[in-house]
Symmetry: C2
């Protein structure tokens, strides 16, 4: 069975401000120093899914940005442009219908475009297992991450330890939202919870069937689009239908409702790079615990993240601080407030300071 | 009696890095937003000392910088250039000998070039009183500052409350070095201590006599220079003599030894602007206690000092932090480490990063 990758690349990444902007969202940033995140996402499934079977779902603003950076192996025709932001469920059925029309059935692997994985080999082992399982069954398969600490920033997957599908494949009991710290500690202690990575593997036909069953309002509307795929009217029809689709996530719309979901636990250094403090998961700290990507002089400074452009950054007596200095803007905030960088972006929107958005 | 101002302008101001550099020391910076500090120092004695009687003692590196910014009322011939840095005692006898040779005796008022005073009228009242007292007596007069908190960053003057010279003039018992916090609290509680502002008023003839008595090694060497003042050989002779003079402060060399020292207490919002946290004494804080001189967006930020150039500065969840962003360098440090900015400059020297010095 052919395999296809669907990469969801519509996020704004406001929590990586001032590096991420509307014109430079996280997925087109080269945060690791190797390549932009979307290309790292593609390279990661080398040997498992052919590069030319990569499909990118993005929005009108980012279409050009992505074309500019995208690996040459991926045809630009494979960039699917959403006429409106409608969350992950519409995004996935859109891609599934295109795949079905163009290629017929196959295995569809869905990836966020802007996550980071340190152990590439560990990842491909799990992905191969998931793809084979999707071929062999009609299950919805997700890759869960073995938690390394009681994170309150990730959703969790509660699984059944009974193993009818072989070693390291489990039935999902429940998807749970981001917990508070006490809940998160209980989840970790129980051993029955994994982090929800947002990576899904299933047959194209299977996910379409699930939309018919669980999200019929979406399915009934967008199915009308199918006959126009590959025609001159494709774009026009999509622009009429898409904005009217229900705004709902695949997790909430399907994964949490179906009892045909399996999870394969992975342990390959995954990180959603959701905010600046995640840089600690990508780069090794120096002897003072600092992560430095800048021209930097530090005195009595510990456990900081220092990210700069050409100009010198100097600190004295700092601890657990994030400093990001770009060509036009500077951010300073404590690590434990990294999530609140979004508030700065909100303020800039209020003040209509579009040059910084 | 004529009055003369001698302004000591040789300091490097490393604690105001990255704004202050060798090529932009504190005295030529416009920190207040009104004028550069050396000109603010001059304007402050308007009506008490004629501007054209201003003498600036500086070094070879800063001579041109000062000429470039100096108020037009001050003749460039009044800039005295030290061939070497020898602390304040040689600086003062050099100026005194030049004044005596050119004008004969008079009242000499010595000021640091880079301090800040909020209440100009309060200052001139005290300065006038000191100048009159210097005319009428042969005392060494200093202006002491009524302490507003137990500072460990200033030297103190212990005075005798007996008032043989009239209201608000006191005999000095002792000059004391920067104390620790407990000592400073005792000083404040006693009511017998003032901050040492480094401002001195005396007759030219009187300070020369004091050099003869207390610093004869300096006096005997530099007196040879006197006959060359105003001749073609002035510079050449000074360059031979000056570097051989003892490196000693006027406080240690004369003020602490003489028992002919009077102090007039002042309460005019004086601040030596010794480090970035002193900006709080110059600018009023906003409703969150922040002192902002920058294009700034702050979320949940309190009691910070934010000083920028053209680029945006954004902070979340910060407290008591100093952020200074110049065109080529950024400083971030907690307020209570403001004195340690010097350590960054030291590090840059070690690393020979002269572009930032």
């Amino acid at each position: 069975m052919n395999r296809y990758a669907v990469i969801m690349a519509g996020g704004g990444g406001t929590r990586f401000w001032p590096l991420s902007r509307q014109t430079t969202p996280k997925q087109v940033l080269n945060i690791s120093g190797n390549d932009v995140m979307i290309n790292e996402t593609i390279k990661r499934y080398d040997g498992i899914i052919p590069f030319e079977h990569s499909f990118i779902v993005t929005n009108q603003v980012q279409e050009k940005l992505i074309k500019d950076v995208l690996l040459e192996y991926v045809p630009h025709d494979n960039i699917l442009v959403e006429p409106a932001a409608r969350n992950t469920a519409p995004c996935i059925i859109y891609a599934a219908l295109v795949l079905m029309k163009k290629y017929g059935d196959g295995v569809m692997c869905v990836f966020p475009s802007d996550h980071y994985i340190t152990d590439g080999q560990g990842f491909t082992n799990i992905l191969e297992k998931a793809a084979v399982l999707a071929e062999q069954t009609d299950k919805l398969i997700t890759i869960g991450i073995k938690p390394t600490f009681p994170s309150t920033g990730y959703g969790y997957i509660n699984f059944n330890k009974y193993k009818p599908y072989g070693e390291d494949v489990f039935e999902v009991l429940e998807f749970v939202e981001k917990p508070n710290f006490d809940k998160a500690k209980q989840y970790i202690a129980s051993g029955n919870y994994l982090w929800n990575s947002g990576m899904f593997v299933w047959k194209v036909s299977v996910i379409i069937e699930n939309f018919k069953r669980f999200l019929p309002r979406i399915y009934d509307r967008i199915r009308e689009f199918t006959e126009f795929i590959g025609t001159d009217k494709e774009k026009e029809v999509l622009e009429q239908i898409y904005p009217t689709l229900q705004n709902i996530s695949i997790d909430f719309g399907i994964m949490e409702r179906s009892n045909e979901v399996l999870v394969i636990p992975g342990d390959f250094g995954w990180n959603d790079v959701g905010s600046w403090d995640a840089l600690g998961a990508i780069f090794p700290p120096d002897e003072n615990g600092n992560i430095v990507r800048a021209d930097y002089v530090g005195v009595d400074t510990k456990n900081c993240i220092v990210y700069g452009s050409g100009r010198l950054i100097a600190t004295v007596g700092l601890e657990n601080m994030i400093i990001v200095n770009t060509d036009d803007a500077l951010l300073v905030c404590p690590k434990d407030k990294a999530q609140d960088v979004k508030k700065i972006v909100d303020r800039l929107k209020e003040e209509k300071r579009t040059e910084y958005l």
